[in-house]
Symmetry: C2
Subunit: 378 residues, 2 copies
């Protein structure tokens, strides 16, 4: 039985998520927006019966059993933790800081019967599902190098807001880099042990952000991750070097490419398509084309994310539909999802890359095991 859904957020992802949910048979019961006006406007547009700017109104809504949180990073932790406390299943965008991510992990551990996943849809994109499978089957031999690059137009909103602020989770590293950190760990079965990176903000002001306001979030970032042993025990990625290049000063382009190179061949996902080449083979082969699928390309939601979101919503349907209780779910269909623990790891890597960009040195990735004492500065 499919649960009723409450959606947090009125941005572009929330806007594409609602039709995807409905396409799989979910009822979207309630919408939360930062302001009453934003909530009303999108609820009317999408025909959602209830809207509010009070988060409790959605969380306590009796018809809402699954909460999808696609809002700015500084707000996710608070709503996700509260939703779990109220007993709702949660799909949630990344947090703003590792401390917030840790609090989400604590809540998720406390309610293990509730679904709590980070909404990194790239893991569900068929090209990456196939890439992971082929890696496990040894298509590339011993994995050596992963190289990911995303180029695109500015990530800044039309008006000044969190996207401009590094400390609020804005910038290419936090917004896009984090999805790649998660994906590369998922693909290789290994985690970064040391990272090195460089962040830049080339565009500090534009037509919309001017005067005393300045952008502090990065629009260019590259980082390297040295991968260590796996948490999951499945990993063959120990010793692998990952490089990630992000550039959001390239209007008109959208390049999303992830390449894995090993001793026997390589795999490359370009956009939503997967290509492979075995050493000694006859050049590159198309392993998986874009199947089209639901959803049109939408401004601000790149195709790999859109397609992945579609597959993730399908997986959610599979997890819920055979269940009698509308809050219970099967683990199998969402087993590949990013957990809150993964979210904490990703956030830890992001912060280590930022530290490295300041220090100029390789920084260790040490995942928090205890919440820092909030009184440490007293």
């Amino acid at each position: 039985m499919l649960p009723g859904v409450g959606v947090f957020g009125t941005g572009s992802t929330a806007r594409v998520l609602v039709p995807l949910l409905r396409g799989e048979g979910f009822e979207v019961r309630a919408l939360w927006g930062r302001s009453e006006e934003e909530a009303r406007s999108l609820a009317q547009e999408l025909g959602i019966p209830f809207h509010t700017s009070q988060s409790d109104d959605v969380l306590l809504h009796p018809d809402v059993d699954l909460v999808c949180i696609y809002i700015s990073p500084p707000l996710t932790r608070q709503i996700a933790v509260k939703a779990l406390g109220i007993g709702k299943n949660v799909v949630c965008e990344k947090a703003a800081t590792a401390v917030d991510a840790f609090k989400m992990v604590t809540a998720a551990r406390y309610y293990p019967q509730l679904l709590s996943i980070v909404g990194n849809a790239l893991r569900f994109l068929p090209a990456f599902v196939a890439m992971r499978q082929l890696l496990a089957e040894g298509y590339v031999g011993e994995l050596q190098v992963c190289d990911a690059r995303v180029y695109g137009p500015s990530l800044l909103d039309q008006s000044y807001g969190w996207t401009c602020e590094e400390l609020m989770g804005g910038g290419g590293l936090h917004t896009v880099g984090s999805t790649l950190v998660d994906l590369l760990s998922h693909l290789t079965g290994a985690r970064a042990i040391r990272v090195h990176g460089l962040l830049r903000t080339f565009v500090r002001q534009n037509g919309a952000i001017r005067g005393i306001r300045r952008v502090t979030s990065d629009d260019f970032c590259f980082f390297q991750m040295l991968m260590g042993g796996s948490g999951s025990g499945r990993g063959t990625g120990s010793g692998v070097c990952c490089t990630v290049t992000l550039n959001f000063n390239m209007p008109g382009a959208f390049v999303h490419e992830v390449m894995v190179v090993g001793s026997a061949g390589r795999l490359v996902a370009r956009g939503t398509e997967l290509y492979g080449q075995r050493n000694g083979g006859n050049g590159e082969e198309l392993l998986l084309g874009d199947s089209g699928g639901t959803g049109q390309e939408v401004k601000d939601v790149p195709l790999p994310h859109l397609r992945g979101l579609g597959s993730m919503v399908k997986a959610l349907k599979d997890a819920f539909q055979a269940q009698e209780e509308r809050r219970s779910w099967a683990r199998g269909p969402v087993a590949m999802a990013s957990t809150f623990e993964d979210g904490l790891y990703v956030q830890t890597v992001v912060e280590a890359v930022k530290r490295s960009s300041h220090s100029g040195e390789w920084e260790s990735v040490e995942v928090m095991t205890q919440e820092p004492d909030p009184n440490q500065n007293l």
Copy 2:
């Protein structure tokens, strides 16, 4: 009047160079090989009237006024310096170390009337000539980021030799990375002030290199350069970030891509073709196709190098042909060539990247101004 040419080397570059020289009207008078047998074999194949394994026999050859040195890095310095001392013009591959490069600079300064250029043919490739011109004209606006990547099959020779040895100038960084360091400095008009890099040798042994022998040279290399002010006064590249990714574990592929991104647009050279896109424009435009030109694609000589070599030989012809003396030359046609000073800079960057890979830290690029005391360890 075109000078007679003596060619050092029997490798793939020497093999394609000879027909290119002849195509422009140069007479190739003498060939040097490491062994008598290698020299004889290639001289017979190419119909070169004189061959030897004694370097003096070429350098002192009365019909040789231009010496082209395409041999392994540890031998270049000795022959280049001697050639200049004997009064011959020199086109020379890179040296093995910064100390060697410094000795070459000293010799070049001592004989300013002689031609002394480093044979980095990429500078002459029409795509890069056009890219440099467009950068100067402001096509990309304010330059922000350069991103170069070269992927290809193994650089190792069939048998154990200098290509396997880091200290002898083997490896992707020294062999290919150095040409990109030179090119990026030429394109941006700026020089690296700090670098950070990571080198790896994934393939330590193969069918030909086994037993107690191991490859020490890198087959994967990733480095970043932060560019500072220009030596030439022309530079707009101060503050630019350059990233270079080299991977030579990709048999069957050859990817050679150099992208420059600025505030108003971008330029990308893919192989020998140049593409551009202005922000707000209608997508990418082909700015310069591959004109074909002389020379076929040859194993081990990637097309951008081959085409560049063809253009460089044309420039050499233009420099020499209007002169009455067969040793005199006009500076204009070869003004864009890499000088021995540039070669020293490049070698300094290469060594700083290697240092960084060991230390894990950003390393400063400090070009030698004095030869290190050879007795410093006594």
